[in-house]
Every structure is written in structure tokens, then in C-alpha cells.
């Protein structure tokens, strides 16, 4: 029996991941459950892919990259500018 059925939760949580996410401006850290890919994570955070980069350790990863429970990710904003 799948884990989701045993726990009586939806299939979306079957491979639920809880990863640490470091955000900038201001720098802060949070834990996020659920997203299986970088693209899903950005959607969850309501961030446009064009406005950020995602790093795992010091490596850049693309939107289709699968996420693991043990991941620590940094969301690096790319937009800057005054005036």
C-alpha cells in the first residue's frame, strides 16, 4: 500500500520533500515541504524564474531538477538597480 494511502493523504504528498531554502534580500532561511522540482518550488514561492537563480551548494540547477528531502537550496535574486 502506498505511503499516502496509509496516512490518508493525497498522492501529491507521496514523495513529499522538506528542504531548507535560503532566501536573500533580506537573508533568511525557511523549510518548505512538497515541491519535487525547482520549477514547483518557485511556483510555490510565487517567484518568476526570470528573476532568480537556484543553487544547490555552489551549483546552479535548472527548473526541471528533482529535489530531495536533504537538499539545502539558495534562491539568488538576479535583479538589482537604483534610481
Amino acid at each position: 500500500m502506498p505511503v499516502s494511502a496509509q496516512l490518508n493523504i493525497g498522492p501529491d504528498w507521496e514523495y513529499d520533500a522538506a528542504m531548507r531554502v535560503v532566501l536573500q534580500h533580506p537573508k533568511r532561511e525557511t523549510e518548505i515541504h512538497g515541491p519535487r522540482t525547482v520549477g514547483q518550488l518557485l511556483k510555490r514561492l510565487n517567484l518568476l524564474p526570470e528573476a532568480v537563480l537556484v543553487l544547490r551548494g555552489d551549483e546552479l540547477i535548472t527548473e526541471d531538477e528533482a529535489l530531495k528531502e536533504s537538499d539545502t537550496l539558495e534562491i539568488r535574486p538576479v535583479i538589482s538597480g537604483g534610481a
Binding site: 518568476l48 526570470e50 528573476a51 535583479i79
Partner: protein, 300 residues
Amino acid sequence: MRCRRCGGRAVLKMARHNTSVCASCLNDYVLEQVKRAVKDQAMFGRGDRILVAVSGGKDSLALWDILMRMGYDTVGLHIQQGIGTYSEASFEKTDGFARSRGAELIVHSLQEEEGAGVLELAELTDRSPCSACGVMKRYNFNKIAYDRGFDVLATGHNLDDEASRLLGNILRWQEDYLAKQSPTLPATHEKLVKKVKPLFRLAEREITAYAVVNRIDYVIEECPMSAGSKMLVNKEVLNRLEAESPGTKQSFYLGFLERQRPSDLSREDEKIQSCTRCGQPTTATVCSYCRILDKVKAAP
């Protein structure tokens, strides 16, 4: 995701080009775009001495890195603005970058040379900090480049900077600014140094990726004075359009450049003359820099 050029592990998806690239092919792409920008806009040549304005942020450090990699004769110029820990961190990153590459860096401290940092200058003159900072940077970039005999001044403005500036200028129909919005601004006065923006073909996200994959240690922190700036709002609007329709930013700005008339860059109605105080180029009798310094000198 795989690199569309070599099949390696992709580090960046570029929707506007309908492609993905690995770290090595990203470097090739960035250098190709800068090479094309330099050539198409007749920015500089092999024998030219280039002064690169470096803030410590991703764009200017990436620009300096790229130009050195391409073998150009460059020197960095960093203006210390005196905005607390942000300016301290900016200097540390710039200085660290220059030292790591054995590159020459000119440092100009507003506090030491002008007698006040950006925040104090803004307060004394009733200008916004960004306005005071802009006057100080433009003046010192040009004067230092001229005094030290550089052929050209290069800044790290990217496609997003130029597209958002264009949007702002069009929304307010600031035709004077529109006329001057070019990646190459010629020297139209004997003391004016040619200014170029070699990163204008590259999106901000592409340059940030270049900085990350090449381990360029830049200031991630944003200038505390930029919060709520119109530039940031315009960039967000353009990124929303870009998400819906990839390529919007490049077709907007590059399309503008294609339609710009050569005569727009040498407008007869804007006479550049010498400031009666300092001799530097200005459109007024006394330049903005001298007027700001008058207030510093008059301050108790």
C-alpha cells in the same frame, strides 16, 4: 536538463533563445555576446585603454572579468559611496577581485575627496540619495578617465537595465533621455570620454549565472537606498512580460536601437559646454557636481 550545445549538464535555461547551456557553454555564449556588442557598436579596439567602473556587484565584476579574459587592457575604478556596511562590503569584494587577478584598481572615496558620503550629500542638497550618487559617479567616472588618459569608460549595464530604463523613459516621454540611450556614447566634448555598455545584449540572469559559475565573489546585498526604486518596478513588470512571452526584453530594447536614428545621438539642441568652475563638460553654466560641492563647503 541537458546543454543544447554539448549535451553536458545544463546550469541555465534561456527561454528567450529556446535553449539550455552548461557552465562551459554559458561562458562561450557570454563571450560571444560581448564580442558581438563590442564589434557592432564600435566600442573599443585592442590598443585602447579601458577604465571599467566596478561597484562590487555581479554585473561590473563580471564585465571586468570578461574583458580581462578577452585580453583587453583594463583598469578598475571603484567609487566608495559611504553608505555604511553596504559600501564597506562593496569595496571589500572589488578589492578582493582585483587582488585575486593582479589587476590595477583605482579607488575614489567620496568622503575623502569630496568631504561627504552619498547620504550626507543628499541631505545637504535636498536630492534623493540615488540622484546625488548618480551625479558623483558620472562626474568622477568621466574626470578620472579623462585625467588618466583612458580611451573609454565601460560600465556593467545589462539588457534588463537598458530595457527598464527605456520603459521608464517612454512612459514619461523623456525624449532627451531616449536620444541618449545607446550602448556607445561618443565623446562629444574635448573633456568627455567615450562611454560603453558591453553587457547590453546579456540578460541580468545570464550575467548572474556567469558570475556564479565562475566563482566571482560579488555583493549579493542590494543597495539599501534602492528599495522601492522605479527601476526595480520596471524590471519586475518586464520580467512578467518575459515570462509570458520570452524574448520581450531583447525585442523591446534591441528593436529600439535598430530604429534609433544616428542624428539622435548628436542633438544640436543640447549644447555641451565647459563648467565655468571646474571645466568639466556640462549642459549648464555651472555643473551639478560643483553646485553640490558648494553646499558641502557652505555646510557648518
